[in-house]
């Protein structure tokens, strides 16, 4: 059945990997594409970047982090459950080409959408240096898969519980000072992308960032996802999700991501309370 969850892996307490039957999207998606998902009839429409697919099996892979009601609903779904609505693939695909050496920086669950991009750049004949960054060891995901498609894999944790101790930018600087980087791609929490972008800007390295903003329809209709890029308003859903990171107004984006934080907090607490009551 379409939209059925076929496999579920708990990466950590709050991060899950879902393998979902979605034959059309499995076939048509490319690196960089995202889907819009509505878990159930009361759910909101949220964007999730596709982490991979198997066209033969007709499945797509998504990685979801529990941050609010909508993501919690997805995280709590079980194998055999069906997601009500999945539409995609949306957005413009990553422009993959051979440029030389790529520095790919993934933070937190941003590593998931980075996976197909790293894979594609490697396939295109580039040398790929990948940095995975997270707060601690438990939050490092997809390490083996990333290692498979990277020439070198560097792990950075804030607390030093795994790999090297330090921020993603520390790892980036070390690589950049060591070898010539032709292009960089960064995906992760907005604040991480802001500082990663400042780092590559310092060294004049062309950089793409994949943005994950609030969306409703995801097809260009609502404009909730608008960001300022080079002083112009762009829609992440149809013009992105990838943009020249050095042109993105990350401060504005961070504020806009918090547009509903009060409502989201109240709703999440109510949801958790309701879940506990049921169990």
């Amino acid at each position: 059945m379409a939209n059925e969850i076929l496999e579920k892996v708990n990466f950590s307490e709050n991060v899950v990997k879902l393998i979902i039957r979605s034959p059309y999207i499995a076939k048509s998606r490319k690196a960089g594409h995202f889907v819009i998902i509505r878990a159930d009839a009361a759910g909101e429409r949220i964007p999730l970047t596709i982490a991979g697919s198997d066209p033969e099996q007709g499945t797509i892979m998504l990685v979801v982090q529990r941050v609010g009601v909508s993501s919690a609903k997805l995280c709590d779904m079980k194998v055999g459950d069906t997601i009500l609505d999945i539409v995609g693939p949306l957005g413009e695909a990553t422009k993959v080409h051979k440029v030389g050496t790529i520095l790919a920086c993934g933070g937190g669950v941003g590593v998931a959408p980075m996976l197909p991009i790293v894979e594609a750049f490697k396939k295109a004949g580039n040398r790929v240096v990948t940095i995975l960054a997270a707060r601690n060891k438990d939050l490092i995901i997809l390490e083996d898969e990333m290692r498979l498609h990277s020439d070198e894999l560097i792990i950075m944790t804030d607390d030093g519980s795994y790999g090297q101790k330090g921020l993603v930018t520390d790892g980036m600087k070390a690589v950049i000072q060591r070898e010539k980087i032709d292009e960089s791609i960064i995906i992760g929490p907005a604040i991480m992308m802001k500082f990663a972008s400042l780092t590559t800007k310092e060294f004049n390295i062309p950089t793409q960032a994949s943005l994950n903003t609030i969306m409703v329809d995801g097809t260009g209709m609502c404009g909730a996802c608008r960001v300022s890029v080079g002083g112009q308003t762009k829609f992440v859903c149809v013009d992105g999700p990838e943009f020249d990171a050095h042109q993105v107004d990350f401060d504005e984006m961070i504020e806009r991501l918090g547009a509903y934080k009060t409502q989201e907090k109240v709703a999440y607490e109510a949801h958790e309370h309701e879940c506990k009551r049921k169990h």
Binding site: R38, S70, K73, I86, V216, T219, G223, T233, R256
Partner: protein, 490 residues
């Protein structure tokens, strides 16, 4: 038999002749035009119930008597889908309301929708003999259409138009809004195997995400869509042709022709400073959250910001829908900001009147030039440039010109920008060879055929931003065009 002969043949039926002879024309014209009953404005602006409550049976039959059943029914020429207007109205006069509904459905699958949202005052009613020759208020064609459709729906005896034969030729309709649905209705009647592909999770397009419950309840859209399902139309939601699958994929699956009615997806902004502050929305976003996602109901997850001091920028029907929605979400002050005067607003007169009754403020001859935010980048006020009317512009309306130095700061915590939409770029981007205009609309010929022979298009993706009924008219024309094209091929 051509359309004029058909109308004549219908008009000459005995029952019509008899009805005409029952009441003298001068007695008919002496009847006063019916008033649509409405909910109390100060009650309705706190809830979502429909504003117009509909004519009673007696009111409808009386109003139907006003129609003179003209020999030359000019009203029909004002209808984009050519409803046989005198025939349905005379059926109402006769008291055969189900026959009235069936008459409308000969050419229009959505009478309950059109009876509510069509701008009849610039279409059929503007061409009515009363308006044209008698200088009297027209027959209330729209109210009567709605009456017939509502009667049929409530009777539980909804007529399903018959399909004479099935030719098993597959046609894809892209977009489940008014244009696509109208095309699907005609195509399935012609015998085609029709599938409608819709990007969103519900069928109805702007009828669902855009037009609010208090003007068009979603349930009414669902009932009219279910008629299409019963006629054999297949619906696939969450499917974006050009993304989920390509046109070529669908050709391989056996689709022989396409009708693209993907709508005017992209909201326009004014590109003024501060427009990306938090709590500044496009009308599409604001209305979609409330109408499609049920954001105002606590049991749904989608949030909406219910401001106390809401400014809606624009003077069209979407602006009226947005500002009246804001009032219903609890705004103390809900205001329209429009750069021209109230007379020049493109919104329907009825919508403006309803808004005024509900306590909406109108700041006409005001134009926003900048938004100011607080330390969290939430909008807190706007700078408005006061305008005056100058010489007429290309639209025939007097051009608004800024009054130098007349700038006002008005507090606001929510802004909804309703200054029009642009065509959705998804379909054109997936078809690099498609002939497009410089405005991003698809170029079509009289049969609504694009530069790619099996692809037809209509509605906002061709017009750039029009009305429900014009999209429906395009859908019908495209269905004819597709029929001719496929007959010449197969």
């Amino acid at each position: 038999m051509d359309f004029a002969e058909y109308l004549k043949e219908q008009r000459n039926q005995e029952w019509r002749k008899e009805l005409r002879s029952n009441i003298k024309s001068k007695d008919r014209t002496a009847i006063e035009k019916v008033h649509m009953p409405e909910e109390n404005p100060h009650v309705r602006n706190t809830n979502n119930i429909e504003v117009n409550t509909g004519l009673t049976m007696e009111m409808a039959m009386k109003e139907a008597q006003r129609c003179l059943d003209c020999g030359d029914p000019t009203c029909i020429s004002g209808c984009p889908v050519n409803i046989n207007i005198p025939k349905f109205i005379k059926n109402i006069e006769k008291g055969d309301f189900l026959a009235a509904a069936a008459s409308i459905k000969e050419t229009n699958s959505f009478p309950a929708v059109c009876g509510r949202v069509c701008p009849q005052e610039i279409q059929c009613e503007q061409k009515c003999f009363y308006t044209q020759k008698l200088n009297l208020p027209s027959v209330a064609i729209g109210y009567l259409e709605r009456f017939a459709a509502d009667f049929e729906r409530k009777s539980g005896k909804i007529s399903i138009p018959e399909i004479s034969h099935h030719n098993h030729i597959k046609v894809a309709v892209i977009g489940g809004g008014p244009g696509g649905l109208a095309a699907a209705f005609d195509l399935v009647k012609f015998g085609y195997d029709v599938t409608v592909f819709e990007a969103l999770h519900e069928i109805g397009g702007v009828l669902k995400y855009g037009i609010p419950e208090f003007r068009l309840p979603n349930e009414i859209v669902d009932v009219e869509v279910s008629t299409l399902t019963k006629m054999g139309v297949k619906f696939v939601t969450n499917f974006i042709v050009g993304k989920t699958a390509t046109f070529d994929d669908l050709r391989v699956e056996g689709f022989k022709a396409f009708f693209v009615a993907s709508g005017a997806g992209l909201p326009n902004f004014m590109n003024i400073p501060g427009e990306n502050l938090i709590n500044i929305f496009s009308s599409n976003e604001y209305l979609t959250r409330v109408n499609l996602m049920n954001a105002a109901k606590s049991e749904f997850d989608t949030p909406v910001f219910s401001g106390k001091n809401v400014a809606v920028i624009g003077g069209g029907n979407t602006a009226m829908d947005s500002v009246r929605t804001a009032k219903r979400l609890g705004a103390n002050r809900a205001m329209i900001i429009y750069r021209r005067s109230i007379e020049e607003m493109p919104a329907r007169i009825e919508e403006v009147k309803h808004a005024q009754e509900e306590g909406i403020e109108f700041l006409n001859l005001h134009n926003p030039i900048e938004y100011l935010g607080d330390d969290q980048r939430r909008v807190k006020s706007m700078k408005l440039q006061k305008m005056e009317l100058g010489e007429p512009d290309s639209s025939g309306r007097r051009r608004p010109v800024p009054i130098e130095g007349a700038i006002e700061i008005v507090e606001t915590d929510t802004v909804v920008v309703a200054v029009g939409v642009s065509p959705n770029p998804l379909i054109p981007r997936s078809l690099p060879n498609l002939n497009m205009s410089k405005w991003g609309t698809i170029v079509v010929n009289d049969q609504m055929q694009s530069s790619i022979e099996d692809i037809f298009a209509g509605g906002d993706i061709v017009r750039g931003g029009a009305t429900v009924i014009l999209a429906m008219g395009d859908g019908r024309r495209a269905a004819d065009g597709i029929d001719q094209y496929l007959k010449s091929k197969f």
